[in-house]
Assembly symmetry: C2
Homo-oligomer: 634 residues x 2
């Protein structure tokens, strides 16, 4: 079934091989002329020399009088010198030095006589208080060497030096060719099995940030002849070609074979994860990159390979991305075979910047968009242990990470609403949340990975929520339980409740969708099942796990499950019916240290805000009495 | 003459006052709708919720077969289970899960029989190898809270979630009104006394980097009625008004009085240097900033005040600029009265990043463009001592500073040519040069402020160049003298040599322009004068100092001096005549530690290159035999 195999070339080696081949075939930048005043951010293609001096004349540097310095000889407090009316001129700063004059005396040092003459009480040296020609720039001076990036102040220096046009490196144009039979435009109606194509938009935006342009080609089906035609056309008009997907070694993967036919395959298969199935080569002088179709794999290949090619074509150096030192919250296992890029969320918890590794699925672009940064695990490493310090390449700004409230625990859409309230605040903060369930919150706080998190843990014996868990899991204290909201858990079912579900026993006869292990909702389900003597084996779909209430509702909405357990607001979002079963208490467990964090303060203040109540009312199904009050401090 | 006075309000206080007033009057952002795929870098004005799930169907996560998990019950290595042809479907990754199926078995685990049935050797759980609906994003999930900046990956998440349009904050438009009777368009022919206007281009570029737009108004003369009319018009159509110059308290400074008439003056005069004469206020809801006309003052006011106003109107947070820790090379005195912004050049010399404070003239924009960063001396501080560690706000990237070769010493245009050769190299480096004269080079190397520098110091006794100085000033060694070039020093005189200058005695009868103290050329002049028994008092213009050969030539070219002493290439640049007087040796003195620096290696290699010789030939007047060879190591 497979017609070729992927190699496993280390990233650095692949990039070097690729760039050195491109240089050998003569791939290089092109130039164009642009107006200096519109050239900000561009890169000059040659050294720029001043064409005029700035200032271009000898200028008075003070308000005062201009005269021949020799006339002031011998002047002092005790024997002032009189300067006749015709021997000086009043001048303002910036005025040209009048003919014959060679110095300026500040107006404060001049005493005027009634006949128009003046008295001076000190002698002046020639050229004092005169701004010399070329003080800023002299004609002929090199203002900027080749490949200097134009900045606002440099625009000023160029214009001061009489340089009104610049020869800059031309923005290279990359053809982006999305491929695949199942790929459809992201903005079209999508049917089951269609994969919406948005990589081209993501890659275009990346290219634009790097100083390149892009031309997105129509989606090409998995057909080598059509792909060949598209690539040929692109090579004629573009400076680089990016083919999305089909870059692996499967049945329908034609990228490398088309490249082999038209040009030269240099690398097929990189020792990185995600991003392994990349194809690098060239067609004549045109660089060619086959980028994997999974969005995160694609982004990693763009960032680590295409960016260096853009740099070759723009002469904008690839600067090392900003990195910060982080403490990894838990073990990150890694394969010896791959250099791994692991996205993390990071926040300042206590006195450390803690990075929590996120899922590694290559298809989850929303996760990537939320990540604070990336840690890299080198090839031939088995990974790092929790607690180790690592360098993390930033995807968010340092400031954003410092402003970030890290919320790990049970999911409720109210966390998103709170994050929006914080974002809209006078002094904005961001919320980074991870849905790991109520027990996940307890683990995160014990490990000092989070500031706070949502929990709704029912004590089966007392029927009380949360308190007993806090006491049990934090015997040495360190956390505070803050009242959140009351909410109704129930069956999320299709409109009209076609299977007529009413009670927990009814789950025996339907297809269910569950929440992940450790989720408070799953614990509630287990408790309800136990109470009614129902075995989990009797529930079809018990092992089918979703991580959020909305994902459960989505599964019901599309008909792939008959029922899920969740909150009212999720059912409402999908216009589904809701069978109330149980009132529960969803609270926030907060690390005591975190009360010092300005963002956490804002989060807790938002819990008490009118705006929060307004939003909960709109969502429905919540009881927000006393939200934000302290319930228990241990 | 003065009609009002400047206050001296601390920067932070002024900004707080300004912003709080703007919030009070209701200055805020506007919004507009843009296509998601074109929204990179924009800021969403409201929380963005997913409109569809991604994936929007249950998808097979593997190539293999899809079937009902129940059929695999009990399968094991020893008792495989046979699955009939009609009970499974071959699927590829990404295919929709076929109706009735609830799991996927990887193709590697399937053994096909000849009749089309398959054997399975292990049991599968329901929903294994199935990519659930909404695994990436579920409809209704908040993808991004308000005021999130759109990134490429976020564009992917939005499109995945079916969000094709975004409400973003509108780019505010700032009117930029240059003022002043003496101000002319930078691109026009400039006469003596004209000041070319380029601040508007600098500020436009800055605004654009911050996410704002600008409309540059025609230059308004120093006339309160005309300025009032221009400001009124701007207020009607723009979101902010910037008036350039006229913001001080002089005779022709109308900015604050016009603002007082049309709106409200909040601050007039800041306790910063440069940048003191700024005016802040508002006209209705429109923020108004009077920015000083000196370009560096203007840039400081834009960066520290206008940027925060742009942030209010765009909701893009002002992130703290990147800072690095530097060791200041020499004392930076400061007035207690002002918070000072001192531009510095920085390079990694030995194991420290050394920052050398540059001149503080507010009119020298080319200096600002060259600076590596800015150190701030707080108000009420008398400054910092040489050797102190400070934070420097970066104007160049960290990488650029690390790649930088720091060249301090005597000026010759060949340093610029070398810097261009380095910039164009395979592995580019930048050169940061300061023209402090030959003795300045020795001081800089003794203080470990520079990697190397040019010197041409004549030993009057031996008639030999440089060596005796190196021995004298580096008794403990640590430097190496590298052969540079031979060059001819001579009189730079107007075309045709109208004053018929031939020998050093002729200087008695002309107007001369000299070099600064410590410059090798001045030392040469002093030696020549002494040798001929001429007193410096006999030379008119001896005290008139320029810092470069080109600046000397410029003074001669414009007729403000009859003659200067300098090198042939400078005369040639200005199409002047040259009277050769003296052959001298211009060498490079290199710190021994610096030989480890890759950039210094490249610099010394460039000295020996053919390209360097080619460029020197083009400049003329140089002898480059043995350039780059070591002369003396101490």
């Amino acid at each position: 079934m497979k017609h070729n195999y992927l190699s496993n070339i280390p990233l650095k080696e692949a990039v070097e091989k690729f760039l050195s081949c491109l240089k050998d075939v003569g791939t290089s930048y092109k130039t164009e002329t642009v107006e200096t005043r519109r050239a900000n951010g561009r890169t000059v293609a040659e050294a720029v020399y001043a064409k005029r001096c700035s200032p271009h004349y000898c200028a008075c540097a003070m308000d005062g009088i201009a005269l021949k310095a020799g006339l002031t000889a011998g002047a002092s407090e005790s024997s002032p010198v009189l300067i006749k009316k015709e021997d000086f001129t009043f001048v303002d700063t910036g005025d040209p030095l009048p003919d014959g004059a060679d110095c300026v005396v500040m107006i404060e040092e001049v005493t005027e006589n009634s006949d128009g003459s003046v008295m001076l009480y000190s002698a002046s040296a020639p050229w004092s208080h005169v701004r010399q020609i070329g003080e800023d720039v002299s004609a002929g001076d090199m203002i900027a060497p080749s490949f200097t990036r134009v900045t606002p102040s440099l625009i000023g220096a160029f214009l001061a030096g009489g340089v009104f046009e610049l020869t800059v490196t031309k923005k290279p144009v990359f053809a982006i060719i999305p491929t695949g039979d199942e790929i459809v435009d992201a903005q079209s109606e999508v049917k089951s099995g269609d994969i919406p194509e948005y990589n081209s938009a993501v890659f275009s935006a990346m290219l634009s940030e790097w100083g390149a342009e892009s031309e997105v080609y129509p989606i090409t089906p998995d057909d080598p002849a059509l792909l060949e035609a598209a690539v040929k056309k692109a090579c004629e008009v573009c400076d680089g070609v990016i083919v999305i997907a089909g870059s692996s070694a499967g049945r329908d993967d034609y990228t490398s074979s088309v490249l082999e036919k038209l040009g030269k395959v240099l690398v097929h298969g990189l020792a990185i994860r995600p991003g392994k199935p990349a194809v690098l080569g060239c067609i004549g002088k045109v660089p060619f990159i086959g980028v994997p179709g999974y969005p995160v794999s694609g982004i990693i290949v763009m960032e680590n390979i295409v960016k260096t090619v853009v740099s070759l074509l723009t002469k904008i150096p690839v600067e090392d991305a900003e990195k910060i030192s982080v403490t990894v919250s838990k073990r990150i296992p890694s394969s010896l075979k791959y250099h791994e890029f692991v996205r993390c969320r990071a926040a300042v918890v206590g006195n450390k910047t803690v990075a929590v590794p996120m899922g590694r699925a290559a298809g989850i672009v929303s996760d990537f968009a939320k990540a604070s940064g990336i840690v890299e695990i080198e090839q031939n490493s088995e990974g790092v242990e929790g607690g180790e310090r690592l360098e993390m390449t930033l995807l968010k700004s340092r400031g954003e990470i410092e402003r970030c409230v890290c919320v790990i625990g049970s999911h409720d859409v109210l966390i998103d609403e709170l994050s929006d309230i914080l974002a809209r605040g006078e002094k904005p903060f961001c919320v980074m949340s991870a849905n790991t369930g109520s027990m996940g919150c307890i683990t995160a706080l014990r490990n000092k990975e989070a500031h706070l998190g949502g929990i709704h843990l029912l004590d089966a014996e007392s029927g009380e929520y949360n308190k007993s868990y806090v006491k049990k899991y934090f015997p040495n204290g360190g956390v505070t339980l803050v009242k959140g909201i009351g909410r109704i858990q129930g069956f999320i079912v299709p409109k009209g409740n076609p299977k007529q579900l009413e009670a927990i026993e009814d789950l025996r006869r339907v297809s269910f969708v569950n929440r992940q292990r450790g989720a408070g909702t799953r614990i509630l389900l287990d408790w309800l099942l136990g109470k009614h003597g129902i075995s989990i084996d009797e529930i079809y779909g018990y092992t089918r796990e979703e991580y959020t209430h909305t994902a459960v509702a989505a599964a019901v909405a599309c008909g792939s499950a008959d029922c899920g357990l969740g909150v009212y607001s999720a059912a409402r979002t999908y216009d589904l019916d809701f069978v109330p079963l149980f009132n529960e208490q969803y609270d926030f467990l907060v690390s005591n240290e975190a009360f010092e964090h300005d963002g956490v303060k804002a989060f807790l203040a938002a819990l008490k805000s009118e705006e929060f109540k307004r939003r909960l009312k709109k969502l429905g199904g919540y009881d927000f009495k006393n939200a934000g009050e302290i319930i228990l401090e241990v």
